[in-house]
């Protein structure tokens, strides 16, 4: 039990400090898990990062992997819940104030004013992903086909994504 409490406390702390999300987390977790706590070896840590990239979940799902290493399935559950408690709580807080914030004229002007920046951020995600993962003609063909299907038909994106995964699996993409 003592182990689980320790896992809970450490992941709660991590959840409280990863502002900005995503890749801030890698050096932070590395320091805590490998250097300070010795819960993982460096190889295990890197493999854990790779594993967590395989899932649809955010990188913070690395907490599940580490928790599993330290405390089995209960450890994985406790670690996962605790790392996500702070951001979920903060988000619920913002969401609950949202209507009231929007009612204030200045806040509303700012909120609407930043929408183009959000568009830029979304577009940039496509750019950054494309730069690292599109290389062959095959990739670009899949991109074009995916765009056509998603833009012009109402096929569920889940079907399209799973279909593309199946294509990759069956044709042994490497």
């Amino acid at each position: 039990m003592g182990g689980l409490v320790k896992i809970a406390w450490i992941f709660l702390k991590i959840g409280l400090i990863f502002f900005g999300g995503g890749y801030v987390l890698i050096p932070l977790l590395h320091r805590i898990m490998v250097d300070e706590r010795h819960w993982l070896t460096l190889t295990e840590f890197l493999d854990g990062v790779a594993l967590s990239q395989l899932t649809p979940g955010p990188l913070a799902i690395l907490a599940t992997f580490t928790g599993f290493r330290v405390g089995g399935l209960p450890g994985a559950l406790v670690g996962t819940v605790c790392i996500f408690i702070p951001c979920t709580a903060l988000m619920l807080f913002f969401a609950s104030r949202y209507e009231r914030l929007r009612a204030m004229e200045v806040v509303n002007a700012v909120l609407d004013g930043i929408l183009p920046a959000v568009v830029g951020l979304v577009a940039s995600a496509a750019w950054n992903l494309g730069r690292t993962s599109l290389s062959t003609l095959r990739d670009f063909l899949l991109l074009a086909a995916g765009y056509a299907v998603l833009q012009f038909t109402s096929v569920s994106p889940m079907v399209v994504i799973l279909g593309a995964g199946l294509v990759g699996y069956l044709m042994h993409f490497s």
Binding site: F19, G20, G22, G48, L51, S52, Q53, T55, P56, G57, P58, L59, A60, I61, T64, F65, F68, R69, L77, C87, T88, L90, M91, L92, A95, Y98, V106, A109, D112, G113, P116, A117, V118, V119, G120, L121, V122, A123, S124, A125, A126, W127, N128, L129, S133, L143, A145, G146, Y147, L150, Q151, M158, V160, I161, L162, G165, V167, G168, F173, S174
Partner: protein, 200 residues
């Protein structure tokens, strides 16, 4: 909470408040579980999926509300999860937010637990890589579709185009964090709001 009102009065009140029919928590869980199970690519891929499902198909939230949710979501923790929480809250309050968050994380949790078990047992990564190579380009297509749809709807003025282009460049070429970009954009629009008021 159970005031003894006749059925008619309840109907009038709910009409007056213009409430949409409540979305069952089960439905919220189901939708976000599906998103969490198929949203390979993470991050903006999830956001694009949520936009497509909850804004365009189900019309649970408006595009404006959703984009504000993305902006808030950049502050603490993963914004993919935060976007789900935000939509869940808009539908059913705190319970809705938690159900959406749990539904979204659950598939990844199960998958990672399984993979961790295999990994620590056999010290090998299962060969999922080929499948993911296939999904990568399609995930990018999904994000492009979302971005172009948002741009058509929300980038109308020349100033908006400049801001979108600047945000894109800062994030793509100069490695500026999303939170910094949004803070800068907020300062810009705050300045313009003040200026507009002074010179109206």
């Amino acid at each position: 909470m159970s005031l003894p009102l006749p059925g008619g009065a309840v109907a009038v009140i709910s009409l007056a408040m213009d409430r949409k029919p409540q979305v069952p928590l089960r439905e919220i869980f189901r939708v976000f579980f599906m998103i969490g199970a198929t949203g390979f690519g993470g991050g903006m891929a999830i956001v694009s999926l949520v936009e497509r499902t909850c804004v365009r198909e189900k019309k649970w939230v408006t595009l404006d509300e959703f984009m504000h949710g993305i902006a808030f979501g950049q502050i603490l923790g993963p914004f993919s999860l935060n976007a789900c929480t935000f939509v869940g809250y808009a539908l059913r309050g705190i319970a809705g937010g938690i159900v959406a968050a749990v539904g979204f994380i659950a598939p990844s949790f199960v998958l990672i637990s399984l993979l961790s078990w295999l990994y620590f047992r056999f010290h090998e990564l299962p060969q999922l890589q080929s499948a993911l190579k296939g999904t990568n380009p399609v995930v990018i297509a999904l994000i492009v579709v979302a971005a172009s749809g948002m741009a058509r709807a929300k980038v109308r003025s020349p100033a908006g185009v400049v801001m979108a282009a600047a945000a894109f460049a800062a994030a793509s070429f100069f490695d500026v964090g999303a939170l910094t970009i949004l803070a800068a954009a907020a300062c810009c629009s705050l300045g313009r709001a003040w200026y507009g008021r002074e010179h109206a």
